[in-house]
């Protein structure tokens, strides 16, 4: 971290340029009673003391823990090249790319990102990203509300509960209604979703695989939505898209994703990456930035913000979203990650993780009292019913340096005994064996 001091001389020079005598003069516009009386900061300490303090905090982490946690955010191996390339100062320090003449590299990277995620989702177009998977769902819902002028959002209860809370919070001041369709044993009820769609529906919002890891085909749901001029919105786990029927193939209008699993480490809640893709006919309703490829007067390829630049960046009141920013660096990381793995690598990754999960299910359901919550197809994440509260198992295994998964009771009352378990390439068969033996010993 750079340490940038201001000497008294520098301070005086800056203040004289501004035309004030001292720092109080600089803040004269802020009434004294509104200025902070004090900053809640400890007194200055030596570099060594500060380092020791933070090392002490860091030592509370358990980096060697064996984890089967997923629930929307996944620990994946990240090739070292992702750090090396995304850390280049051209990308790391670049500012928002309004001026194409000095931002070609950043703009091209965003264009390539849009291309990659569009292909992954089987959709026509993508934007430059938004904050995270939850805000992407909200933006997709708002696209639907604007385009259809309907006011009811039908949401599957098997959509990630954190994202549903975000959606409810974002729309709480708007004249919209959220209609939640109950899941059944972790399986999305396609018939109930279809029955909930009518002429007031702006969008039906589903997730694949859903929060419980169950995979479904929402083609019929989206067809029903189209009959009522409503949008079909789907949130997906991007790593699984190389082996599942894509949102495009299902006929979704907008497909979104939490992009963290594509090259972002898990880091106490962020930064995350909201991926958004849509069908071409909706591009005018697309929020955020869209980069297009064009030719300049000399016929050379150039990349520019396009289709809604003025709407987004000048006429704020008319903007399709007031999220004007995007996660450019995270989008770049995901692009590099996807490029390094390639289509075959992503498929192998998904298949490998599915195979590990099947092995975990085989081992764990061999233990008396543990069974699958449902018989739906699953990917690399699955819900297991335990003969005890899942939270108690998590607490007990923590002592063994293991997190067996996510206890679902917190979000789904009545599912206190259900554990959501995910496997990625970070988990080995040996780890799964150790998990099964430890769990077996406890039950």
């Amino acid at each position: 971290m750079p340490y940038i001091p201001h000497t008294q001389e520098e301070l005086h020079e800056m203040l004289s340029v501004v035309g004030v005598r001292d720092l109080d003069g600089l803040f004269a516009d802020i009434p004294p009673e509104m200025r902070p009386k004090q900053f809640n900061l400890p007194k200055g300490q030596s570099e060594a003391a500060v380092c020791a303090y933070f090392e002490g905090l860091a030592a509370k982490n358990c980096p060697d823990i064996m984890s089967f946690l997923g629930a929307g955010y996944y620990a994946h191996d990240i090739p070292k090249a992702v750090d090396a390339l995304s850390g280049r100062s051209e990308f790391y320090t670049s500012y928002t790319p309004y001026q194409p003449e000095c931002s070609q590299g950043t703009l091209q990277a965003i264009f390539e990102f849009q291309t990659a995620v569009s292909r992954l989702m089987g959709m026509d177009c993508a934007n430059a990203s938004v904050y995270d998977g939850g805000s992407a769902i909200f933006e997709a819902a708002m696209m639907a509300v604007r385009a259809t002028r309907h006011r009811v959002l039908v949401v599957d209860e098997a959509v990630n509960p954190i994202w549903r809370v975000m959606l409810a919070s974002y729309i709480s001041s708007l004249d919209l209604e959220l209609k939640t369709v109950k899941q059944e044993k972790g399986v999305s009820r396609l018939d109930a979703l279809m029955a909930a769609i009518d002429d007031t529906t702006a969008a039906v919002i589903v997730q694949n695989p859903n929060f419980f890891g169950a995979v479904a085909d929402y083609t019929q749901v989206f067809a029903k939505a189209r009959e009522h001029k409503a949008f079909g919105v789907i949130s997906v786990y991007p790593v699984m898209q190389s082996v599942l029927k894509t949102p495009g193939e299902m006929g979704a209008d907008v497909a979104v994703a939490e992009g963290q699993s594509l090259g972002m480490p898990l880091s106490f809640g962020g930064p995350y990456l909201g991926i958004m893709t849509c069908r071409k006919e909706h591009i005018r309703q697309f929020p955020g930035r869209i980069v297009g490829r064009t030719n300049d007067l000399d016929g050379k390829t150039g990349y520019v913000l396009t289709l809604q630049a003025r709407e987004q960046h000048i006429r704020r009141a008319k903007a399709t979203s007031n999220i004007c920013s995007n996660q450019a660096l995270c989008a770049l990381r995901s692009l590099i990650y996807m490029s390094l793995l390639g289509p075959c690598g992503l498929t192998r990754l998904a298949e490998n993780n599915m195979a590990l999960t099947r092995y975990a299910v085989e081992r764990l359901t061999a233990i008396k009292g543990i069974e699958l919550l449902n018989d739906a197809p699953y990917g690399n994440e699955v819900a297991l019913r335990l003969p005890m509260p899942a939270q108690s198992l998590v607490d007990a295994l923590a002592a063994h340096g293991c997190v067996p998964g996510y206890p679902l009771g917190r979000y789904y009352p009545g599912m206190e005994n259900v554990l959501l378990l995910a496997c990625t390439e970070r988990n080995s068969r040996q780890q799964i064996g150790m998990l099964a033996e430890t769990v077996g010993g406890l039950l």
């Binding site: 005018r284 003025r310 709407e311 006429r315």
Partner: protein, 128 residues
């Protein structure tokens, strides 16, 4: 400069209006399309929407700017020019014909609009 048709009425915000029975057709003027430059997108109301005199009913976006469309008449929208979705440039090429925007069943006859001669004089004061 192309002459503005004499059978139309004109507003200060550069929309034109043609009365046809109890309905009115609305578009943007030659002056407006020329000031905007190449038009790339037209956002129109939906059939059934209510529009009001001097109220915004959509927007038009060109390579230069995005501008609100202001209705010269109050009433309900009974038709829109959907051809503009695919070909917004019709507003440039034929603003008084194929580039029309919407058809309104008006609730009261619009007042205070200019005729072609007055509008031409008005445009002259706009520095064109």
């Amino acid at each position: 400069m192309a002459t503005n048709p004499t059978d139309l009425l004109y507003s200060k915000s550069h929309e034109w209006l043609r009365l046809e029975g109890d309905e009115a057709v609305v578009g943007i003027t030659h002056f407006a399309q020329e000031s905007l430059g190449d038009i790339t997108y037209v956002e129109l109301p939906l059939v059934g929407d209510e529009v009001s005199e001097e109220g915004e009913f959509g927007s038009v976006e060109s390579v230069k700017a995005a501008s609100d469309l202001v209705s010269p008449v109050s009433g309900s929208v009974v038709g829109i020019n959907t051809a503009l979705e695919q070909a917004p440039e019709k507003c440039n090429g034929d603003p008084y014909g194929e580039g029309w925007l919407m058809r309104v069943k008006y609730s009261r006859k619009p007042e205070g609009l200019m005729d072609a001669a007055a509008y031409e004089a008005f445009c002259a004061t706009e520095g064109h």
